[in-house]
Structures are given as C-alpha cells and as structure tokens.
C-alpha cells in the first residue's frame, strides 16, 4: 500500500521547473557571474567588459530616450522594406524556377553561387546607386534576403506532392486557382522557412550596411557608441537587438499554420 502511495505521489511531487530549465538558468547565472568577475578583475582594458550594473543602467537610459526609438524605427522600416521587396522577388523567381525545368537549369546554378556570397561586398555599389541614406540599406537587405527565399521556394515547388496537382487538374482548376489554392498552400512550409532565413540575412545585411556608412539607424548608433568607447551603451543596444531578433523569428514561425504538421 505504501508502495502504491509513493508511486502515485511521485508525479505530483515533480519539480515545478524541469531539470533542463534548471540547468539553463544555472548556465546563464554562471555566465553572468563570470562576466561580472571579469569586469571587476582589471585583467582587461577598461570597459571592454563593463559591469552588469553599468550595462543595466545604459539599457534603462536607452529605453527611455526618444532618439533611440527614432533610430530603431528607421532600422525596422529598412528591414521591413527589404524583406517585402526581397521576399516578393524571391517568391516570384522561386516559383518560376520551380515550375520550369528549362529556366531552372539555365539560372538556378547562379543563385547557388551567389547565395552564400557575403552581400556586403556589393555595398559600395549600392551607395553609388542609392546614396548613404536608408535606400542603400534597403537595397542591401533586399539583395541578402532574395536568395534564401528564391532557393527555398524553388526547392519547395519541386517537392509538392504530384497527386495534389493532378487533383487540381482533374477538377479543371485554372492557372490562377492552381497557384493560389494548390501551389502556395502546398509550399507554405518552405516559404515560411525561406522568409525566416531571409529575415535573418536581411537583418544582418541592413545592420552591417548601417555600421559601414550611414547617418541613422541602430547600426549607426552602435558604431557611434563604439567610436566614443561607450561600451555599456553598445552592449545595451546589442541586448535589445538580440531580443528583437528572437521576437521577429518567433512571429514568422507563428504564421506557419502548424495545425496540419502531423502529416509532414
């Protein structure tokens, strides 16, 4: 009887936080402690590793300044534009390549070569074409996110279950209906995946461009903080960016419509 009692009680007595979560928390705490220790050790050059207190202070200051939100909105708008333009172009090109074997044979290898090339090498050209303002950042972000979207969509198009296409044909769907009601929904996972990857590289491309040459945006602020060696402020901005990137990624994942994931 005592045995049974213990058995049934065990799940109830399970810890509120799982061992994995505990370990994660422990690692973060250890890292923070190590950071703080380094900050006070005096082994490194002044402020390379600023104390947590000063970073926290800078973070609070940052979040309360209207100026910061202006720069944040500039960067967000650039990334948003880059993702929309690059995503739409990538989707169109991906569908064309996925649907047409001839086009795919002729052009897709270029995309594979250009895809992994760091797009920042085109930044001087973008500045000449679009100037130092947000336009050149949008151009670079667009260029960055075009490739993963196009390649993912092209591959996704080829992976569509052929029988679903035959179903559409047997019900005499026209070309538009085939695209909207069969191809696009059947490709929703590769499309979302492409956009997620595209968002990542658009973020990198835009911010990298801002740190190179610009007059507004988060990249500009970061490099400004760096140039006057305001390390706490720089770290504070990195933290905000990090959190925003995670949030954006989660948001894109939400659009995936994962209720039918069981069949995949």
């Amino acid at each position: 009887m005592a045995e049974t009692g213990r058995l049934t009680r065990t799940p109830v007595a399970a810890p509120l936080v799982s061992p994995v979560t505990l370990l994660r928390i422990a690692i973060i705490l250890a890292l923070l402690a190590a950071w703080e220790f380094l900050a006070h050790s005096g082994w490194l050059y002044r402020d390379v590793v600023p104390s947590l207190m000063s970073i926290g202070h800078a973070l609070a200051e940052l979040l309360m300044s209207a100026d910061y939100y202006f720069h944040l909105s500039v960067t967000a708008a650039e990334i948003g534009m880059a993702l929309s333009i690059g995503g739409a172009l990538g989707l169109t090109v991906g569908i064309l390549l996925g649907a047409n074997r001839f086009l795919s044979k002729a052009f897709e290898s270029y995309l594979y070569y250009l895809g992994p090339t760091p797009k920042i090498i085109f930044f001087p050209i973008m500045i000449m074409w679009f100037g130092v303002g947000p336009e050149s950042k949008i151009a670079l972000g667009t260029l960055s996110c075009f490739f993963p979207v196009a390649l993912n969509v092209a591959a996704g198009m080829r992976q569509i279950d052929k029988v679903l296409i035959r179903v559409g044909e047997s019900f005499r769907a026209n070309s538009w209906q085939m695209v909207v009601k069969i191809y696009l929904p059947a490709m929703r996972h590769p499309i979302i995946n492409g956009i997620r990857l595209g968002l990542g590289v658009a973020l990198i491309g835009t911010l990298l461009a801002e740190t190179k040459l610009s007059n507004k945006g988060i990249g500009f602020l970061i490099i400004q903080a760096y140039s006057i060696f305001d390390m706490p402020r720089m770290y504070a901005m990195l933290i905000v960016l990090f959190v925003l990137a995670i949030g954006a990624n989660a948001l894109v994942g939400r659009f995936g419509g994962l209720h039918d994931i069981k069949r995949l």
Binding site: L164, S170, A186, K262
Partner: protein
Amino acid sequence: MAAQNTSLDDAILVADDIGVRFETAEGPVIAVDDVSFKVKPGEFLSVIGPSGCGKSTLFNVIGGLLSHHQGVVSVAGETINGPHKSIGMVFQEESTFPWRTVVDNVAFPLELIGMPKAKRIERARHFIALVGLDGFENRYPGELSGGMRQRVSLARTLASEPKILLMDEPFAALDEQTRLLLGDKVLQIQQQLKQTTLLITHNITEAVQMSDRILVMTYRPGKVKRIVDIDLPRPRTSEVVTSEPFGRYVAKIWADLREEASRGMRDEEKHALQHHGAAS
C-alpha cells in the same frame, strides 16, 4: 479489333481503340494497346489486370490527364480533350489537402466553380454525411486515419457530381478489413446515387463484389483479354463474397489473371537479370 459498330446504343462513356506508348531509355514500351469498351449509365465496370498492364495509364487517359495517346474517349458522344467535367477522379495515392479541413476539402471542386460559400459548405456536408464522416467536418486530414482520408477524397469527387466516377485502386493502401467495409460504403453510395462507376483495380474480390461487368486486361502490352458479366443480385454488400456463384466468378477471373500475372512476373525477373548483368 476496332470499335464494334454499335454507335446508336446508350453508352455514356466510350473508349475507342486506346493505345499509349512511352519512350524509355531501352526503347519504346507499349503500355496500352487497342483497348475499347463502353460503359452504360448507372453501370459499375471494373478494369482488372496484373501490375504492369497499363491500368493506371488507362485511368489517366480517361481522366484526361494524359494527352499523348491514340484513340478516342468520349462522354455522352462528346470527345474528351483534357479533364472533363463529367468525369470525377479518385486517386490511389493520399490526395486530401492537408491544409484544408474535411469540409473545405470536400467543398474544393465547388469553390473552383465559384459556388457561394454558404451553399458549398451545405453541399459538402451532405457528401460528408454520405461517406459517413459527419462529425469530422472541421478536422484536418492529419487527424484522420488512412481509410477516413480516402473517404474524404471520395466525398470531394462526389461533391463535383460527376456523371462518371473514375477510381484508381482507391483502397490499395488500406488494410483488408477497412477495404471490405469501404467497399460496402462505395457499393451503397453507388446504388443509392445510381452512380456510373469505372473502377481500376488489381483486387479480384473487390472487382467481383462491386461490378456489373469486369474487363480483364493482359500483361504488357495491356489489351482487353475478356469482359466478364457479373450476374449477382443487387443490392449487394460485402456478404456476397461468401456466396457460391461469387467463388465461381473469382475462380474464373483468377484463371485469366494468373496467366497474365505470371507472364508479368517472368518478364520482370528477366528484366532484373539483364539489368544486373549490365551493371556488373
């Protein structure tokens, strides 16, 4: 063996001298050769043959999904040229749309012709009930079993109200019990709707259980070997399989098929040997 000259009868579907050849790496293969038959309104005709007899090719020709073929398929006197609105296809493979609920899957063909939403949902519900899936309208295919998903496909095709229901081994991927029960369902619906049906299958029991006539095909090239009239009483259910005449029909068709199937088997073995020889 061209079309028998009976052009004035009441056939709804006529296949006249159908031939299909494919170009392969080892030269042309004649998949279907000189196949002619007629289906009368309300009739249940099965096409049976060993694997490799071009059954599925024939399915695609009649469905209008394969254009490079010889001969003519006509529906109510009209030659088909691509998928025809009077022919509704049910595929062998899993073919529900995983991103649509059951009701939206079934309403798909109605959506394509622009039927208003309220009306098409109502119609879809009717056909969902017909295949016995009421209560599952708002589930996704991923939440259903294979047999249920195949019923969704059937309901979707029935919702387009085809004059001819064309099915390619719709139960091939299912287990035997589910297959028998689903066969019952199809029989019941077919008898209720007086649905003209053309079933492609390799399953003798299934063919005899459901058909008015069975067309037996030869192994490659697929030709008409024999057409057998199945004179069993209707309405039928799966219980018919235990009857004595049923057994005789099965034996008769198996005698025909056995010859073809073993020819196919020998041919495949020879093929495998040749390939193996070439590879080593």
